[in-house]
């Protein structure tokens, strides 16, 4: 398998707050890769570094062997055409209908006609289980429930047929049925579209049951990376405690 993303000796800090120090990670093509770790440790920052939304102070972020920091405007545009991100809160554009949200990337990157874009939007909304026959396409994001908004955001991300989808905490704030639905959808999309899926989550069900490999962020690095099957009874107490939700008082410090 070839690596889609390689993060080598990465150093990232916000002022004096160091997020990554000598961090290494490699994500292979076609896999579902899950990143777990405590809140506020910088899991989502990883995604923003991957698509060039944030600069890094040291090390390398490589997309198919090409340094993201060295990319020019056109190369970055191409990277973002191939790597789609589903944001934690959906980040749907409030002033646009669901249809306009879903077709946003198509308008940016393709010369599709309005009819073709409409067909593609229907296809994507169908794929994420929202359907299109109840006028959902013409509703504004504010009128959708949390679960529907996340699925609409997912439809927006797959519309352009990306090679990689980055899911930033896709199940946060959802009820168990919707968590299950989103988990199944990630797997389904990975199989149907053959995309590489990278998921940042606190949801152990997604991490252990829906992904091929898991990485745990600990002390500014990913010291524990391996197949998801190995994570359930990991030899390292830190990993085991995190998965079982064991609380240590020193976590607050």
């Amino acid at each position: 398998m070839t690596a889609v993303f390689e993060l080598r000796n990465l150093y990232k800090a916000f002022g004096e707050n160091v997020i990554y120090e000598d961090m290494n990670l490699e994500i292979e093509q076609g896999e579902t890769f899950t990143i777990i770790g405590g809140s506020g440790m910088g899991k989502s920052v990883c995604f923003k570094l991957m698509i060039g939304l944030l600069p890094y102070e040291g090390g390398h972020v490589l997309f198919k062997g090409q340094e993201v920091a060295d990319m020019n405007r056109e190369q970055l545009r191409e990277l973002r055409r191939n790597v789609s991100m589903v944001f934690q809160g959906g980040a749907m554009f409030d002033s646009m209908s669901v249809l306009d949200n879903v077709t946003y990337a198509l308008r940016e990157h393709t010369k599709m006609t309005d009819e073709q874009m409409l067909e593609r939007a229907k296809e994507c909304l169908d794929m994420v289980g929202l359907g299109y026959d109840r006028g959902i396409m013409y509703r504004m994001p504010a009128s959708l429930s949390g679960g529907m908004r996340k699925r609409a955001a997912l439809a927006r991300s797959i519309a352009i047929k990306p090679e990689v989808i980055l899911y930033d905490e896709p199940t946060t704030g959802l009820d168990p049925a919707n968590i299950e639905r989103i988990g199944a959808m990630i797997q389904k999309l990975q199989k149907e579209l053959q995309v590489t899926s990278i998921v940042v989550t606190h949801d152990m069900q997604i991490a252990l049951e829906r992904s091929d490999r898991v990485a745990m962020l600990h002390e500014k690095k990913f010291p524990f990376v391996g197949p998801s099957a190995d994570f359930r009874d990991h030899a390292e107490p830190v990993v085991r405690d995190f998965i079982k939700g064991v609380y240590h008082e020193d976590q607050d410090e």
Binding site: L53, R80, R81, S84, F87, A91, D94, Y104, E108
Partner: protein
């Protein structure tokens, strides 16, 4: 003593950082704006959103400024027995100075705070990152249309405001000082030269640009949480007001010798 100096130094530095940030955003917006597609639809949408929806406020402001100023001048001139010159005095003050400046301070501040609140909310909810992640340029999509729309809308509102201020002044001149409307209009217009209109319009264009870029910059600078949106919006009111007054002084210095 050193603490005080340090505080002054950091304030000065923050000021320069702010001016630098605004200039950089302005440069990037212009550089992205001249690339195809030009976003004509977005610009027109913003002109409607910013300009047309500001018409009620602009109307109220212009009529009442016209009336108040004419009354003030009328009272002062009456004591010299020169109340018939009220049109000449009011015309110059309104067209050159008061309509563009007060329009910018009221309508402009409304436009700028609206931009900051909208873009700040988009920043907080990661919508700006989402635009970038979808391969679009947030500056081209968000800043450029608002900058152009504000730069075009404010002079248009000023022209509209000048007409209404003249009307408001005429009502007061006639009803309070017995200066006939026709006479007031004639003296108002006679005193104005093309350079007076030009200076008023140039001021409005400059104020519009300032309003647009400051509103967008403050929105983009919003940190995290809804409280940050409120802070950014408040800062926008202060920043636009100060910037407009400073720019007004600079442009008055330039235009007065010319006029």
């Amino acid at each position: 003593m050193f603490g005080g100096l340090e505080s002054i130094g950091s304030s000065v530095r923050a000021g320069f950082d702010w001016i630098g940030g605004i200039s950089l955003l302005f440069g990037r917006a212009c550089a992205s704006g001249i690339r195809r597609p030009f976003g004509i639809y977005d610009i027109f949408y913003q002109i409607v959103a910013l300009g047309v929806r500001s018409l009620p406020l602009a109307t109220m402001m212009a009529i009442f400024v016209g009336m108040a100023l004419t009354w003030q001048f009328g009272e002062a001139l009456m004591s010299f027995g020169a109340k018939n010159a009220v049109g000449s005095a009011a015309g110059l003050a309104l067209v050159r100075e008061l309509v563009p400046t007060i329009m910018a301070l009221t309508v402009g501040a409304k436009i700028a705070t609206g931009m900051t609140a909208e873009l700040g909310s988009m920043k907080v909810s990661e919508q700006i990152d989402a635009i970038a992640s979808l391969g679009a340029d947030p500056i081209k999509k968000l800043v450029w249309p608002r900058l152009v729309a504000a730069t075009l809308a404010l002079p248009l509102l000023c022209v509209y405001g000048n007409v209404l201020a003249l009307g408001g002044g005429a009502v007061i001149a006639d009803s309070v000082f017995d200066v006939p409307t026709g006479y007031f209009y004639q003296t108002y217009i006679d005193e104005l030269y093309p350079m007076d209109y030009i200076s008023g319009l140039v001021k409005a264009i400059a104020f519009g640009g300032l309003v647009g870029i400051i509103g967008c910059f403050q929105g983009f600078q919003t940190k995290f949480g809804t409280e940050a949106v409120g802070i950014s919006t408040t800062n926008t009111v202060v920043a636009t007001s100060v910037a407009i007054l400073v720019m007004d002084f600079i442009l008055t210095m330039i235009f007065l010798p010319v006029g």
